[in-house]
């Protein structure tokens, strides 16, 4: 905002003094603010409003009853809902860790110059471009325990066939693999950008300083790409938290509801059961969690900035 004021002042010299700079500033910003309000605030406020109603948008004739925080208390008192959060947490943790380990390693490997690197890089980016539902069905067939390619490989290695999607623990990992397959490219992309942003000088300096490649990676490359990696981590975290397509396609949330993520559950409540009020409350809870996560990362980022 400080930047904007001198500019406003300059413009103000030419016009009569009747309108203050601040007013002009306000006038210029008004349309943008209005749009922002309309696009963000309105849906959010109506979400909050709906979350206090017993209401189904599919059956408006039945009317809507104001029930205060009952939607929230009902959701949060249900053990099954907490179980969904725990499962989602496990999934998020697993997939994001896998994505970062693999993604950062691959991105690091891509730092070297080798023949066909650009082509390989492009190919590596492809999974990200696919539609999640398609990816889900693709992996569902690959994980088919009877004729899927994954079990084929497993048996080639001399192990017994694994029921990937029918056992909750396995299904978690199956979806983690699919999710990581799809989204590791995103981490590769950002990590590559982060690595390329590190001046060559720095790496050469470290090399001359006598640092081994591992020492260089852990002491120079990684810390210096941390701001971008943190942002990538946050994006992946939020995205993984919202994952439902892959579970929908691969396990349908089963067996039982063991592989339902919160987003999956929310989708069901909102668009299958059409419990609009309850779904709104659920969405608000998710939003609060996501905002909380974001705040943690924003704090981390600004802390990093402050240290510099």
């Amino acid at each position: 905002m400080r930047q904007a004021i001198p500019a406003g002042r300059t413009a103000a010299h030419a016009v009569p003094r009747a309108i203050s700079d601040r007013t002009i500033c306000g006038l210029f910003m008004a349309p943008a603010l209005a749009i922002l309000l309309l696009m963000v605030a309105y849906p959010f406020i109506s979400l909050l409003y709906y979350s206090t109603l017993n209401f189904s948008i599919l059956n408006p004739a039945k009317g809507s009853e104001f029930i205060g925080l009952q939607n929230y208390t009902r959701l949060l008192s249900r053990e099954s809902v907490w179980e969904r959060f725990v499962f989602t947490g496990q999934f998020v943790l697993a997939t994001v860790v896998v994505q970062f380990c693999v993604g950062v390693a691959v991105a690091y490997a891509f730092q070297r110059n080798f023949k066909g690197r650009d082509l390989l890089f492009t190919i590596a980016m492809l999974p990200m471009m696919l539609c999640p539902i398609v990816v889900g069905f693709l992996w569902r067939y690959m994980f088919n325990s009877e004729w899927g390619v994954v079990n084929y490989l497993v048996t080639l290695l001399g192990f017994g066939k694994i029921d990937w999607l029918g056992v909750p623990g396995n299904a978690l990992w199956a979806v983690v693999i699919a999710d990581a397959w799809m989204w590791t490219p995103f981490v590769i992309l950002l990590a590559t950008a982060a690595f390329r942003g590190i001046p060559t000088d720095i790496n050469e300096a470290a090399e001359i300083d006598g640092a081994s490649p591992f020492f260089r990676f852990t002491r120079v490359t990684l810390p210096m790409s941390m701001p971008i990696l943190l942002i990538a981590f946050l994006l992946r975290l939020i995205d993984a938290f919202k994952q439902s397509d892959l579970f929908f396609a691969m396990t349908g949330g089963g067996p039982g509801s063991d592989t339902e993520t919160v987003a999956f559950r929310l989708g069901k409540i909102a668009f299958s059961h059409f419990y609009t009020g309850q779904a709104s409350a659920f969405a608000v809870i998710m939003l609060v969690i996501i905002i909380g996560l974001s705040l943690i990362f924003v704090r981390l980022l600004t802390q990093q900035g402050r240290q510099d």
Binding site: D201, E204, I208
Partner: protein, 359 residues
Amino acid sequence: MARVALDHLSVRFGQVAAVDDISIAFEQGEFIVLLGPSGCGKTTTLRCIAGLEQPTSGKIFFDQDEVSHLPPRARQVAMVFQFVSLYPHLRVRDNIAFPLRARGEGRAEIERKIAWMSKIFDLGDILHRRPGTLPPGARQKAALARAVVREPRVLLLDEPLSAIDEQFREEMRWELRHLQKELGMTTVHVTHDQREAMSLADRVVLMRAGRIVQAGTPRELFDDPVDEFAAHFIGSPSVNLIDASFSEDGVALGEAGVPIRLPERHLEALRRSGLRRGRIGIRPHSLRPAGRDDHAAVPVERPIAYAVGRERFLDFELSGQTWRGVLPADAGDSLPERMQLDPARIFYFTPEGVRLPVA
């Protein structure tokens, strides 16, 4: 500290020879400056010494040890880079400790060496700060400390001052000069700034197109350049240059053919060379108001006099070109009609730019 020798060193990138068969030795403790315009091969030479670039042919010795193909880690060199000389995410003390930790030195030893560096470089105030919060001068000082701390065999400096404001650069030059002598380290410094080269070097190696044009003390390069390129590249304000035609009768300058009387021994030398045309150069400080003796004097047209500090310069036209000379501090407001070239300091060049020995 080591003596560094380059033996027929060449680096080719495809068809281009970045470094073209260089042989030279840098003595132990010597401050060497590789000077030249961009693309002259100075940086490539430095990177070869560091091990960041592999020579296409030729050898590099540190004392008796051939290091031509050793990786940078194994060479025990230190280098300070142009822009990013410190790890931005580490505090100054951790920056200095970095090369020691990279080599797995003990904690106590590291502490001892940080304290040592802090004393030499006067880093007390900034040890716990991050590079981003430091003024550029302090940053480069810390970078030097990081380079020096592990007592390298050679210290390599890749334009370490060029990213710094002019204000700080001058200060850093003084610091660098003092410290290098104090530590007695063999130092190879790369720059395109002749002022910096003159200021710092024990010996300047002037390069062009991958080859060494001239290597010598700053004073040798200033007073006795081997060719027109060297004469022009070194010195500020720049050397005055003009085309000249040589004949039996004498010498005439520029297109206008302004005649100039030169010492007989110079004319004799010119005659011996058999040249008809060439170029004449004189540094501004060797061009002063002519006294009664009109020897080696040129007429002053359209003079503009101005002072820089206590020094007064005189710009004037000579056959359509601007020449610059100096006026004595005690001269009044009246401007001289003729300026005189100090005969001992006139440079004669062939049309190809090679300096003719005259004296």
